[in-house]
C-alpha cells in the first residue's frame, strides 16, 4: 500500500474516532506543522494554538478530507496556514521572536547542531537565528509562506499551489522573489 493510500485509510479510521489512528497521524505530521507554523508566526503560544486547532479539526472533521484533491500533508498545511492568517488579521502583526526565545533554544531544537553548550556558542547561534528570522519575517506574507513551504517543508510547486490556490507560474515567481529578497538581506 503506498503512503497516500495508507494515510487516507488512517484518516478514515480517524473519522470514526479511532484514537490510535489519530495518534499515528499526529506522530507523522505534527512536527512539520509545528515547524511551518512557528516559522510563519514566530510565536510559541500561537504555534501551540494553531497546531492544536489544526489537529482538532482533523479529529472532528476527518470526513471532509478528500484524498483525490490533496495529500493529507497539503490539507493540514492549508488548515494551519488559514488559521495563522486569521490570527494575523486579528492581531495585525506578530512579534518576530518570542521573549523567551533564548531559553527555548537551549532546551531542544529541531534542526540545530548540538554545539550550544557554552554561553558564547549559544549567543552566536541565537544571533544567527535572529538574523535569519528577521529576514524571513521581513518578506511579504505570500513570499514568506511559499518559501517556507518549498525550502523548509519540501513541498513541490504544485502542492504549494494547492495550499495557496495559486498557479505553478505564480508560485515560481513568488519563490524567486523571496530568494532574491533574502539574498539582499542576508548576504
Amino acid at each position: 500500500m503506498d503512503r497516500q493510500k495508507e494515510e487516507a485509510a488512517l484518516v478514515k479510521r480517524v473519522s470514526s474516532h479511532d484514537a490510535d489512528a489519530f495518534n499515528e497521524l499526529m506522530l507523522r505530521f505534527l512536527p512539520m506543522i509545528e515547524r511551518y507554523t512557528f516559522r510563519l508566526c514566530r510565536s510559541t503560544e500561537i504555534t501551540e494554538d494553531v497546531v492544536q486547532e489544526t489537529f482538532l479539526r482533523l479529529w472532528q472533521g476527518a470526513d471532509r478530507y478528500d484524498p483525490a484533491k490533496a495529500t493529507l500533508s497539503t490539507w493540514l498545511h492549508r488548515i494551519a496556514h488559514n488559521l495563522c492568517m486569521d490570527l494575523f488579521r486579528k492581531h495585525q502583526r506578530l512579534s518576530p521572536l518570542p521573549d523567551d526565545w533564548e531559553g527555548e533554544l537551549s532546551d531542544s531544537t529541531v534542526n540545530g547542531t548540538d554545539n550550544a553548550n557554552t554561553p558564547q556558542s549559544a549567543f552566536e547561534q541565537h544571533r544567527k537565528t535572529a538574523q535569519v528570522a528577521e529576514a524571513l519575517d521581513a518578506l511579504p506574507e505570500r513570499q514568506r509562506s511559499v518559501l517556507l513551504l518549498s525550502y523548509f517543508q519540501g513541498f513541490s510547486n504544485q502542492e504549494i499551489g494547492t495550499i495557496h490556490d495559486l498557479s505553478i507560474a505564480a508560485v515560481e515567481s513568488l519563490l524567486a522573489r523571496a530568494r532574491r529578497n533574502l539574498t539582499k538581506r542576508l548576504l
Partner: protein
C-alpha cells in the same frame, strides 16, 4: 530555454541543493560542469542556503501531542461544564449574576413575609437585649 538558463532558474528557485530540485532536472546539478557565471550564481545560492539552515527553531511536538491526545480522550462535557463553568462568553457571567440577583430578591421577599421587623431604633435595641438576657418576656 537553454540548459544554462534552466540551471540559473533552478538555482534561483530552489537553491544549490540538487535534492530540492525537480527530479527531472537533477542531472543538471553538477558544479564541475558549470560555466563561470553559473558557478557564481551557484555559490551565491549556496551561501543563502547556509544562512537559511541557521534558522533553528524550538521543538515542542511531544508536549503538544500529549496535550491534544488528552483533549480528544477527555469525556464529553456535562451540561454544567459546557454552560456554567466556562464563563468565557460575555453573556454567561451576566446570566449567572442575574440568577444570583433574582435569588437574592426572592429570598428578601421571603424574609419580609416571615414578619421580621428591621429597626435601628435605640429603645428597640434595649428591649431586644433585655429579652435576650431574660430580664423581660417577649
Amino acid at each position: 530555454m537553454s540548459e544554462q538558463q534552466r540551471l540559473i532558474q533552478l538555482l534561483k528557485l530552489y537553491g544549490s541543493d540538487v535534492d530540492r530540485w525537480p527530479e527531472e532536472d537533477q542531472h543538471l546539478g553538477d558544479p564541475d560542469m558549470f560555466d563561470p557565471f553559473t558557478l557564481e550564481v551557484w555559490q551565491e545560492a549556496r551561501r543563502l542556503d547556509q544562512r537559511l539552515s541557521e534558522d533553528v527553531i524550538p521543538n515542542r511536538s511531544s508536549e503538544m501531542r500529549w496535550r491534544i491526545h488528552n483533549l480528544i480522550s477527555a469525556p464529553p462535557a456535562t451540561f454544567t461544564e459546557r454552560w456554567l463553568l466556562p464563563l468565557t462568553e460575555p453573556w454567561r457571567p451576566a446570566l449567572v449574576h442575574a440568577l444570583i440577583l433574582s435569588l437574592g430578591l426572592l429570598t428578601s421577599d421571603l424574609v419580609q413575609d416571615s414578619g421580621f421587623v428591621d429597626s435601628t431604633d435605640y429603645d428597640d435595641a434595649i428591649v431586644w437585649a433585655a429579652q435576650y438576657l431574660g430580664d423581660i418576656q417577649p
